[in-house]
């Protein structure tokens, strides 16, 4: 399963693309190029409409202010050194008529609805929502081929899709106005991790039930067992450390220190908490060892979870991963 890895490479490509005028430019073009002659290569064309772009756009200018000089780092692809890991969350939402069918947190009344969901592809981050909805017993048909989550929202707004999810930053910006207009109703958030690794309410959306709560309230949805473990593993891999900034393996220690210091300087800005809450949501922005830890937890998906998802993708969508 390299989907998650790729998501991150997408983010790097994006960071480079969106901010081609400062030094991280040296990782430009990283999307689509082999990491280190590994077995499977996913190339994920990133979209300008998605949360990754917002994330990169948020950081690019801050970093360019904090970074001294203009170092050009020459590199070969290999092991990347993580210098920033950002957390995020996700929110699923429904049109008001369908949301009205939910009995509190019990989603079982939605089981006779044919759902359409605009998806970028089952093997990508969309795995988390698709598996969650399936666990609730919902009949969701993904329509593949949209270019980013922004297009998914548009499909929802046009009434073609009747269920959707957005990452937190996109939800804040794109869906909140719809909620205020009464054309969309949040269904649940994916939640956030507490220090002990438990799923708790997302600090950005404290009033929204988490998927865990909805699952517990819905008949036939279990918050334990193989399926749940797989969902949780992929949630952890996908969200609490979703976007990362890497430096290439060839980067000197100096460069790593410089970048780490630059991101720390960004975080240390007096106005950081304020400006990031509105744009990214209230999530940890990790640097240094913290970032390394986040990288480990994100890449170390247990084999049992991987195997489950590989089997599930094959049965449900006929996609084989090898």
């Amino acid at each position: 399963m390299n989907a998650i890895k790729s998501t991150r490479r997408v983010a790097m490509g994006l960071l480079a693309a969106a901010s081609a005028s400062f030094a991280t430019q040296s990782i430009a073009g990283s999307h689509g190029i082999d990491l280190a002659g590994k077995t499977v290569e996913w190339v994920i064309p990133f979209s300008e409409t998605g949360g990754s772009a917002k994330w990169a756009n948020f950081y690019a200018p801050l970093l360019s202010e904090a970074l001294p000089g203009d170092p050009r780092v020459r590199y070969e692809y290999g092991d990347w050194n993580v210098v920033l890991a950002s957390g995020t969350g996700g929110v699923a939402y429904l049109p008001p008529d369908l949301a009205g069918k939910m009995n509190g947190m019990d989603a079982s009344a939605l089981r006779d609805t044919d759902f359409i969901y605009g998806s970028q592809g089952a093997t990508r981050l969309d795995l988390v929502p698709l598996l969650a909805w399936e666990m609730l017993g919902l009949n969701v048909e993904p329509v593949f081929g949209i270019k980013g989550r922004g297009d998914g929202r548009l499909m929802f707004e046009r009434g073609e899709a009747n269920i959707d999810y957005q990452t937190s930053s996109s939800f804040l910006k794109g869906v909140t106005p719809l909620v205020e207009d009464g054309t969309a109703v949040p269904m649940m958030s994916w939640g956030a991790l507490d220090a002990d690794g438990n799923i708790v309410r997302d600090p950005t959306f404290p009033d929204m039930p988490t998927f865990k709560e909805v699952c517990e309230a819905t008949d036939g949805c279990e918050t334990s067992g193989e399926q749940w473990d797989a969902w949780k593993a992929f949630f952890i891999a996908g969200f609490p450390a979703q976007k990362m900034v890497f430096l290439p393996a060839g980067a000197s220690n100096d460069a790593i220190v410089t970048y780490t210091a630059a991101f720390e300087a960004v975080k240390a800005r007096a106005d950081f908490a304020e400006i990031s809450a509105g744009r990214l949501g209230k999530y940890p922005q990790m640097t240094g060892d913290e970032a390394k830890g986040a990288l480990d937890s994100a890449t170390q998906v247990p084999d049992s979870a991987k195997n489950f998802v590989v089997g599930w993708l094959k049965d449900r969508y006929g996609v084989s991963l090898n």
Binding site: G32, E41, A53, A60, V143, G145, G159, D181, V319
Partner: protein
């Protein structure tokens, strides 16, 4: 009507925001920067905006907007220079301008063509802004009416323009479009991620080919090579006729065409998902259909310039609707624009659904800054057009190496991969052959551009319709045959019927004599062979990923049938038939150099680049070319090369770009720019 009570105060707020000397100063600064970058083919808004991005953080919103919009707005204006003067589509917005603009330049009427184009651009920009001022208030619900079936129909309507541009043998045009669509399917499928005509061993192909590369390859390289072989200046006459006033008069005489094409531009630009790459073709098609004497199209009809140029600036205005109201950028440059807006001021301007409610004054400022930037840009361009038109009198041998340098650099920017140059060369070769055998290159390009939307929308529409039909027959029918779809079907059918009837009289690329049977037949068989391989490749995609198989298999199947009919016709018809058009026969008397030696120069640059990196290769190439091909002295050649490389480094340094590295660079660490 409360529409006005909302709009008027916001409009006057916007006017107060814009009409300050400092704002106008920033706007002019942006326009000048945009002109400097946009004038080079292949470089456009993305390069320019990424240059500005670092300065945006915390900047006063109106000043930042003025700077950025000034830059974005003039790109479709300034890229007209390359289209008209060199026959190189400066960006996807001015592809159709090449068809008639370049022949005019060859006739020595470059200044007339340019000023007509600029006048049309200006007018289109203003019409677009005026239309948007009212429309933006009611746009949201209307745009949401364009669901997937409607988007699919617009794509098909765009494809129907192939009918007009197909050339003398319509079937060849259709096969060319099919080939373009097949090239467009190369890479990972959108639905299930299956590979078509690509392998993971070549990651470059997995992403598919970029429009910049295909556009430059299919139009620019063949023109450059052809001119180089003839070894003369672009203009056939040394006396440049038709000053800039003539062009403005031409535009005024066709003002209604300009109005209609502007409206086409705004309307198509407003629809999210299609981008602007078809607008100029639709406008060109419209210009052809509404002109009584169609014989001059392709050999210098001024209406063929006015139509697309009116539409492409209007499109920029229309493109603001999906960008500002939905937060869905219509293009790469709009994506950066969105990102940059969020950086302005305290970051409280949020593009998206809340834009109209909270920031209507800013929205109007953006719309009218765009219009103002068009005015400023046009005035500068018209003033410059007379002088710049003189470029067409320079011996082409001196211009060509510079152009090769620029387009190689531009191509490399699309993927930052040496394979970009290989792809450019390969597509360029295809373009040269298509030009030689009179296969419609516009048809190929339309096919390429619309391949991905056609496939994706078709798959999605089928899937969603299926779900609706499960709910009930009526639900499904309502979804597929909405009033908008029905109107679009009627327009498309009329346009195809009318187009095919007229196609024979329109030689989009001038007259071509017929030669012997052998060469055209070999090319046809090569095309057929590719299509058969692509068909087989698509047919092998397993059932679970059928969505990635249907489109390429269908298009390849139809194109193969077309090829087979052509083969049979070729066997039946005499050598003199239009089917055997071969430009080598027509131009034989004019060509001072052979095709292959000329092409070898470019291939040499490519091979050298892969060995020693771009800058070193460029130095060798420039010196050798000027010395041996253009026949100048060693000193002249060295000076030329030094200036060329200084220019290239200045450009790359400014944009903070790298150059393609070669084998040498993997052994030795060299300082920039040699890396």
């Amino acid at each position: 009507m409360d529409l006005f009570s909302v709009a008027l105060p916001a409009l006057s707020d916007a006017a107060n925001l814009i009409l300050q000397p400092i704002v106008l100063g920033y706007l002019v600064l942006g326009v000048v920067m945009g002109l400097c970058i946009g004038v080079f083919p292949g470089l456009g808004g993305i390069a320019g905006l990424s240059l500005l991005l670092p300065f945006m953080f915390g900047m006063d919103p109106v000043l930042g907007l003025a700077l950025m919009i000034g830059m974005v707005a003039v790109v479709p204006t300034s890229d007209t220079f390359a289209s008209v003067l060199m026959g190189i589509p400066g960006s996807s917005a001015s592809q159709a301008t090449v068809l008639d603009g370049f022949p005019l330049a060859k006739k020595g009427e470059a200044a007339r063509a340019l000023s007509a184009a600029f006048a049309s651009s200006l007018f289109g920009g203003l019409v677009g802004a005026a239309f948007l001022t009212v429309f933006i208030l009611v746009a949201r619900p209307i745009v949401l009416e364009f669901r997937t079936p409607e988007l699919l129909m617009i794509t098909i309507f765009g494809l129907s323009m192939v009918g007009i541009l197909a050339g003398r043998v319509p079937l060849k045009g259709i096969v060319a479009a099919g080939l373009g669509m097949m090239v467009g399917t190369i890479g990972e499928g959108d639905s299930a991620g299956e590979l078509r005509m690509a392998t993971y061993d070549m990651p470059y192909l997995v992403d598919g080919l970029k429009l910049v590369i295909v556009g430059l390859g299919i139009f620019a390289i063949p023109e450059i090579v052809a001119l180089l072989r003839q070894d003369r200046a672009i203009s056939e006459t040394s006396v440049l006729g038709g000053g800039w006033m003539a062009g403005v008069r031409d535009w005024f005489a066709n003002i209604w065409l300009s109005v209609r094409c502007s409206i086409i531009g705004v309307v198509v630009g407003v629809i999210p998902g299609l981008g602007g790459s078809v607008v100029d073709w639709i406008a060109y098609g419209h210009a052809v259909q509404t002109t009584k004497d169609k014989t001059k199209f392709g050999s210098g009809e001024i209406r063929g310039v006015i139509g697309p140029e009116s539409s492409n600036n209007a499109k920029e205005g229309g493109g603001l609707v999906p960008t500002l109201l939905f937060g869905i950028p219509g293009s790469g440059s709009m994506a950066i624009f969105i990102g940059a807006i969020a950086l302005l001021g305290s970051g409280n301007i949020e593009v998206g659904p809340s834009m109209l409610k909270n920031n209507l004054d800013i929205t109007y400022s953006i719309v009218w800054l765009l219009a103002l930037a068009n005015v400023v840009g046009t005035v500068i361009c018209i003033a410059a057009s007379g002088g710049i038109a003189r470029l067409t009198t320079i011996p082409f041998g001196l211009l060509a190496p510079f152009l090769f340098m620029i387009i190689s650099f531009a191509a490399f920017q699309s993927g930052q991969d040496i394979m970009d140059l290989v792809a450019l060369f390969a597509i360029g070769l295809l373009g040269i052959l298509m030009r030689r055998f009179d296969w419609s290159r516009p048809a190929f390009l339309i096919g390429f551009v619309l391949s991905n939307p056609a496939e994706t929308y078709a798959n999605q529409a089928v899937q969603i319709a299926r779900s609706r039909f499960r709910k009930g027959f009526e639900d499904g029918i309502d979804y597929i045959f909405s009033p908008i779809v029905i109107v679009l079907v009627i327009i498309t059918v009329v346009s195809v019927v009318v187009g095919l009837r007229q196609a024979k009289t329109i030689m989009a690329e001038g007259e071509v004599n017929s030669g012997s049977k052998r060469a055209p037949l070999i090319f046809l068989l090569a095309v057929l062979a590719y299509l058969v391989i692509a068909y087989t490749n698509a047919a092998m995609i397993p059932d679970y990923a059928a969505a990635d198989r249907v489109f390429p298999a269908f298009v390849a199947g139809v194109s193969i049938l077309g090829c087979l009919v052509l083969v049979i016709q070729m066997m039946m018809k005499p050598e003199t038939d239009a089917m055997f058009a071969d430009r080598e026969t027509t131009d034989r008397s004019e060509n001072a150099h052979g095709l292959w030696p000329t092409l070898a120069w470019f291939a040499g640059l490519l091979i050298l680049t892969s060995l020693v990196g771009f800058i070193l290769a460029l130095a060798i190439f420039l010196v050798a070319f000027i010395r041996f091909r253009a026949g100048k002295s060693w000193f002249y050649a060295a000076l030329y090369a030094a200036l060329g490389i200084a220019f290239m480094c200045g450009m790359a340094g400014l944009l903070n770009r790298d150059f393609p590295p070669g084998l040498l660079q993997s052994f030795v660490d060299l300082p920039w720019p040699l890396t």
